[in-house]
Amino acid sequence: MQRRTYFYAALMLTLVTVGFLVVPVVMSVMAGLTKNFFVGLKSGLTLEWVFRVWELYQDTIWRSMGIALACLAITLIAGVPAAYGLALSKSRWARIFEETLILPVAVPGLAIALALIQTYGGFREFRMSWAFILVGHVLYTLPFMVRSVLAVLSSIPLNEYEEAAASLGANKRRRFFDIVVPNAMPGIMAGSLMVVTLSIGEFNLSWMLHTPLTKTLPVGLADSYASMRLEVASAYTLVFFIMIVPLLIAMQKFGQTGTARKPTQH
């Protein structure tokens, strides 16, 4: 009897907590879909605000997606070989480098942005293009890619595979593409999803680095909250959810299959 009471008490607590967190999300979504938020649901549901967001801010959505993909490309090209190098190297410098890579994660985005502006703000064309934001995003997301790939490479006998492939005549390039990349795939996938998700949602750096012509989605969102009707801003949030939630689910799913596969590897 006592156990049952405990069970229901715990259940209630969980539900209250979940409710506390979920209600604002639901409210926000509803706000984006009702005709007049202050009147409430009885004013009726509409997609008008969503279309308005599309009209006003679709450039920020495309830009954010573009930056996220460019960021992904750069972190893949730079991050995977970097992780490979770090995994093979046994030197102390490699470990130190590995640690410094996390620095951009620990330093506040605003500080990084300021440093970038101080150093490169003088290059006008660069400062005014979306590439300026891209640089900030790469700095911020690269460690996630490297760490994610490195974690997988450190868990397999990479050196032995390398030596075996080399004994079969494979040069460095072949070894990288035939052996390293396929075996690092779980890490590359997890890292990629992380990079895209982080880049799309990144606000601190983007806020400092953007110009009125290079707004990203989160910056546009802040802008709409400040200057538009609440319904528009809420509809904007809804659009953001639609973009980011599938990525988050994919990440979650991938993380699970990634860990589930490990025992069979040995």
Binding site: I156, P157, E160, Y161, E163, A164, A165, A166, S167, L168, G169, A170, N171, R174, D178, I179, P182, N183, M185, T264, Q265, H266
Partner: protein
């Protein structure tokens, strides 16, 4: 077997040494390996045998002044991928992202050597390899679906498929259980004979070395102790290390008099003076190189002791005998009536049984 035989390669090592940091783990080694020969590098762990193998493969660069020749061609500065060596690793190192077939065929796609193979050539070669190692049924399996023995077969097939100049095997059987090890050892032996390929095999297991090697190179602490056929190594060890590392050896202490060896605590010589064995204060012989005297007739030069431990080991009995002077020896012989603990045992060391090694007891 013509389709799988490879060109025979002679290997010459000239003063090959390796230093890690301040330690020279491999003292300068000079070794000539005949084409088609199987040479076993044998020694305890840390003796430098794996380092030597890795130098031959090109995975490790030797110290300055070393030279490695494949058929008189200097390959010292070539990395492993340009040496056309086949390698089998202790851990197999099969690629988990590829099927069995893809693993076996990988070396055919890298364009090593001067061979340019068409897709059809490659497929035929892979099929031949799979058939030879009897793993056709596993061709499309992934690596983590294979047992240890199957993995080893795949690793062998993968190493041989590109027709390497030399096959290098680094303790390939260590990770397997005993029965499987014996079976695969025989298979590897037959395979190496069939292919006629030059092979270098590293192991710490002396029975593996005896069974596989045309010649055995016994190593310890970075130097070669002896090079010879299994028979030579066993019957004519160069020194105490080889005598004790290969097979079981009894070492009796005593002194060499002008009539032969007199064990401690005894008055008459028990082994005739012969060969270069004399010297030092030890006399070594194998447990099986003794004649038992079971009918009680006292022959000259016989040793008499008390049986302490008796074990039946299948082909014979192994008896540990305590001799006067507080020495024990192990005897292996087919007793008609094996002794019981405490029984007297009378035996003679066979005339050729004394090993040509001498040492001053440490």
């Amino acid at each position: 077997m013509n389709s799988t035989s490879s060109q025979n390669t002679r290997i010459n090592l000239r003063r090959c040494a390796k230093t890690f940091g301040n330690t020279q783990v491999l003292k300068p080694v000079t070794l000539d390996i005949q084409a088609g020969e199987t040479v076993v590098l044998l020694g305890p762990s840390g003796c430098g045998k794996t380092t030597l193998l890795r130098i031959i493969s090109g995975l490790e660069a030797p110290d300055h002044g070393s030279a490695i020749l494949f058929n008189d061609e200097d390959v010292t500065s070539r990395p492993i991928e340009k040496r056309q060596v086949g390698m089998v690793f202790q851990s197999y190192a099969l690629f988990p992202n590829m099927t069995v077939r893809q693993n076996v065929g990988y070396g055919l796609t890298t364009g090593q050597g001067d061979e340019r193979l068409t897709k059809a050539d490659r497929d035929t070669r892979i099929e031949t390899m799979l058939k030879m190692m009897r793993i056709q049924d596993l061709a499309d399996r992934s690596i983590d679906q294979l047992s240890g023995g199957q993995r080893q077969r795949v690793a062998l097939a993968r190493a041989i498929a590109p027709r390497p100049k030399v096959l290098l095997l680094d303790e390939p059987l260590t990770a397997l259980d005993a029965t499987l090890r014996d079976d695969l050892r025989m298979e590897i032996n037959a395979l190496l004979r069939d292919l006629g390929i030059t092979a270098i095999y590293v192991t710490h297991d002396q029975s593996e070395a005896m069974a596989l090697g045309d010649r055995i190179v016994v190593m310890s602490e970075g130097t070669i102790e002896q090079i010879g056929t299994p028979e030579e190594i066993y019957h004519q060890p160069n020194n105490m290390f080889v005598a004790t590392f290969i097979g079981a050896t009894n070492a009796l202490s005593g002194h060499w008099g002008h009539k032969g060896f007199v064990p401690r605590g005894m008055e008459v010589p028990v082994a005739a003076l012969r060969m270069a064995a004399q010297g030092g204060n030890l006399m070594c012989f194998r447990p099986e190189d003794v004649d038992l005297i079971e009918d009680g007739d006292q022959a000259s030069g016989a040793l008499k002791g008390i049986a302490r431990t008796i074990a039946f080991v299948g082909s014979c009995h192994r008896v540990i005998v305590e001799l006067p002077g507080n020495q024990t020896v192990t005897l292996e012989s087919a007793w008609c009536h094996p002794p019981h603990p405490g029984d007297p045992v009378l035996f003679k060391i066979q005339e050729n049984g004394v090993l040509p090694v001498w040492s001053n007891e440490a």
